[in-house]
Symmetry: C2
Subunit: 248 residues, 2 copies
Amino acid sequence: MLKEQIKSLPHECDDCPIRHRAVCARCDADDLERLEEIKYYRSFQAGQTVIWSGDKMDFVGSVVSGIATLTQTMEDGRTQMVGLLLPSDFVGRPGREGSAYDVVATTDLMMCCFRKKPFEEMMETTPHVAQRLLEMTLDELDAAREWMLVLGRKTAREKIASLLSIIGRRDASLNLRGTKGPLVFDLPLTREAMADYLGLTLETVSRQMSALKRDGVITLEGKRNVTIPDFGRLMDEAGDDSDGGMFA
Amino acid sequence: MLKEQIKSLPHECDDCPIRHRAVCARCDADDLERLEEIKYYRSFQAGQTVIWSGDKMDFVGSVVSGIATLTQTMEDGRTQMVGLLLPSDFVGRPGREGSAYDVVATTDLMMCCFRKKPFEEMMETTPHVAQRLLEMTLDELDAAREWMLVLGRKTAREKIASLLSIIGRRDASLNLRGTKGPLVFDLPLTREAMADYLGLTLETVSRQMSALKRDGVITLEGKRNVTIPDFGRLMDEAGDDSDGGMFA
DNA sequence: CTAAAACTTTGACACAGATCAAACGCGCTA
DNA sequence: TAGCGCGTTTGATCTGTGTCAAAGTTTTAG
């Protein structure tokens, strides 16, 4: 039943260490067999912590379904979200003992994990895994750098628009839709989580959401269900003409 | 003479694609020979642009000496620095045509370059190159994420302290010194560049530098030469107890 | 040595977003 | 149905940083 649940999700390959991604085509039978031995699935409930910052991590893996966040916290409690993990995103760092971040499930979450030690050994002998991981890491780096621009230079309104456009785009691509025509999706984040992502307070997030709604840039059904009637308009609000690589 | 100049710098290996780093030990004679064929050096004067955002890049490489910055710019001119390239840092992205950022030399700069196409081919057949590049990219990703916390949640004073501690630490490690005892170094950045890095205005940077000086956290000789009498104190000001991986 | 340019400091004031506070709405459970 | 809890909205006020302006300092050019 678990297996069925996983199979029904949109991804390219069940057995590749890097799910949903193009490396699969390069896996040969031996690779797959070795992977099968070290692979297992873990599920988490919304709100559960997957890994605490500083804890030893004995696996790497990727998100199969659901959403998790990556956050950093200062001693005095200020927190900054540094990544949003959506299906197909990779978690963990080969070659490092502990996690540098808290990883928290914000919805019910399914992960495909590989025991770390054997995965690392496999990386040594299977070049395309390291190559694919490099590609993905470079994507993440680009995304992080784009987010630095958002955090450093954008206004509150632009920040909100940037976040919505990223989630909207990513949601569209997961569901194999384009960004033409109205986009409807459920926000997977509370106002507080949005604030932590954007370096704002939750009150400011709430005010700006109201403002975007008042100005017709978005429509809200309840608190979470967002409609974006015109994606281009939203991009303008985000002050963003680039293609926006975050979570690409 | 150029060769002499390069040899005199502190690094581990002249011929490794990833200078100053541990991969060198794993290069064999064949690797080195192939690298030699595709390697060349380029130098830039302070202020020169190495690559424009969007331009095609036909090389990858690493900084041998000097300092460069990686910046993103919005249409209306707002800019955010997203990386500081110090000696040993890698530039360019295998597998991607153009650069996403402006790369600008802030001091006179020497780079060790490899023609991109053959370098990529070499990566396919030489696993440890991709592995080492992955390690370095993961370090950069951690650094970028740490910087997200600085940009999103720290006050102006904390931001300045964070930047000084990063430059101070990095400078110390390049010169094989520790961070015990007073640290003296020249700031390689103008107030404006610091502002672009920290998501502040240059006036705020100037004010906070004056404040840190007034409070005895730092001493300034002229505008650029900084002394940090007590590194621990500076770390406290940065609100930062971690080891601070930026540029690690 | 002087003038011009570039960078930096300092001041006065404005404003975006933070903080503090209260009330609202919705989904629970009893 | 009432009552509670949690997330959200909205209001009033405060404050850190931005903006605009001017003067000081260092470097470069002539």
